[in-house]
Amino acid sequence: MDLALARQVAASVLDPELPVLTLADLGVLRDVAADADGIVVTITPTYSGCPAMETMRMDLIRSLHTAGFDRVRVRTELSPAWSSDFISEDGRRKLVEYGIAPPGPVDRHSGPVPLTLRPPVARVCCPRCGSADTEELSRFGATACKALRRCLACAEPFEHIKEL
């Protein structure tokens, strides 16, 4: 069994909602291994309710079948929980080219989650013109992982991957 090929195939499967990113770029592909029963791919969900997980699972199985791997299992691993910090540098560049602002670094804390009573003042640059003069339109967007913003310099709305 050609494990290197299986890794390459799994790593090139595209995210169903952000089809410029591979599952590897997005940081949801945890591992590709082989055991006595075939190829075992491990993925982690972005959000608990992300409906794209089932499609990712099917796409992985289909791609690996097409590449000649008959026996493929996809397992889910929850820990450590996915963070937007897992999106690769390459993935961030592709997101900007696609018109989506990548997430900034995630604030780390331990113990009780601090209450923030004002909208976070994130510095998010417009993926179109690069201006940092942008504002949040909606904290929730078309998918669980995105918020909606607008650029005050070029007036274009754009999506932003939320820090998680």
């Binding site: 959000y47 608990s48 997980m53 791609s63 820990s79 929980a81 009780p112 209450l115 009573l117």
Partner: protein, 300 residues
């Protein structure tokens, strides 16, 4: 090979048949070694995962009713997204509950229905263990309004976040992982509700009055959240203290007073965690379950 959208893959030749109402035949936690660790009381763990799952499922059903009825389009999307996060938590918790104690699977569910769907669709009202706060009708519709919905969401998300933050190092690694994942989602829900509470509470005379009335309407069900119960895996006292602190800070910023409304009594002291619910839950479950129960063998 990949597909441009999820629908395309449905018409592709494949031998995967899906149960029509739930999640297909793949368990969400499929194919992982999920043995319950030594020293963990498996039936107690299952019961606890089940009640946390019930809170999330029932709350998700209520929130998703707002989609297309919220005051603005962005809020349709927001409440639907929050509902989706909670539905995802319910799926993980139900799956874990059935792994820990397979005997909780309702016998009414056909064999091909995954455990998570069996628990969601084939249990009766008396078997649900959600707190009553999650089930009451806060609108859309004449029973409530957006302010009451936000009031309930603020309390629910703050309370659940305080619980999940304390579950990240339980003896069961799967429950801990579910909690660690949920914390990030719940913190976002709580902040969203807090910002609306401040905007409305510290807004116009009308918005402030609606926000005040919203909290007053849901407040009788708040004491139940942290009342000690035999099913607890956690000491409820620190959860209650954190909830109080968070709510007081939001109330102060929103220029609202903490309501002074007596608690809604249970029936002989029994409440949602004992399967004793308000009339609202039966109607909610009828809507949630009746198609699946009417056509349990349907597949696509």
């Amino acid at each position: 090979m990949s597909f441009d959208n999820a629908y395309e893959s449905l018409v592709e030749d494949n031998d995967e048949t899906h149960w029509a109402y739930g999640t297909g035949f793949v368990d969400i936690l499929s194919d992982v070694d999920h043995a319950v660790p030594d020293g963990v009381d498996a039936p107690k763990l299952a019961a606890y995962c089940l009640l946390l799952g019930d809170d999330a499922l029932v709350m998700a059903q209520r929130l998703s009713a707002w989609c297309s009825w919220a005051p603005e389009l962005e809020e349709d999307v927001a409440l639907a997204n929050i509902a989706l996060d909670l539905l995802g938590q319910a799926r993980l918790l139900y799956t874990r509950a059935a792994e820990a104690d397979p005997s909780i699977r309702p016998t009414a569910a056909p064999a091909h229905v995954p455990a998570e769907d069996a628990l969601a669709y084939f249990r009766d009202e008396l078997d649900f263990r959600n707190v009553r706060l999650a089930e009451i009708d806060t609108g859309p519709g004449p029973a409530g309004d957006f302010a009451m919905t936000i009031a309930r969401l603020l309390v629910f998300a703050s309370w659940r976040l305080a619980i999940f933050a304390r579950l990240t190092d339980t003896a069961d690694p799967v429950l801990s992982a579910i909690a660690a994942k949920g914390i990030k989602e719940l913190a976002y829900h709580r902040d969203h509700a807090a910002q609306w509470t401040i905007r409305l509470g510290d807004g116009t005379a009308l918005s402030a009055e609606r926000m005040r009335a919203g909290f007053a309407a849901i407040w009788p069900l708040v004491p139940e959240l942290c009342a000690p119960h035999p099913s607890d895996l956690l000491d409820p006292a620190p959860v209650a203290a954190e909830l109080d602190d968070v709510l007081d800070r939001v109330f102060a910023a929103a220029r609202l007073r903490r309501p002074e409304v007596p608690a809604m009594a249970g029936v002989s002291g029994r409440t949602g965690r004992d399967g004793v619910h308000t009339t609202a839950l039966g109607y909610l479950l009828a809507e949630l379950q009746h198609i699946a129960r009417s056509h349990p063998q349907a597949v696509w």
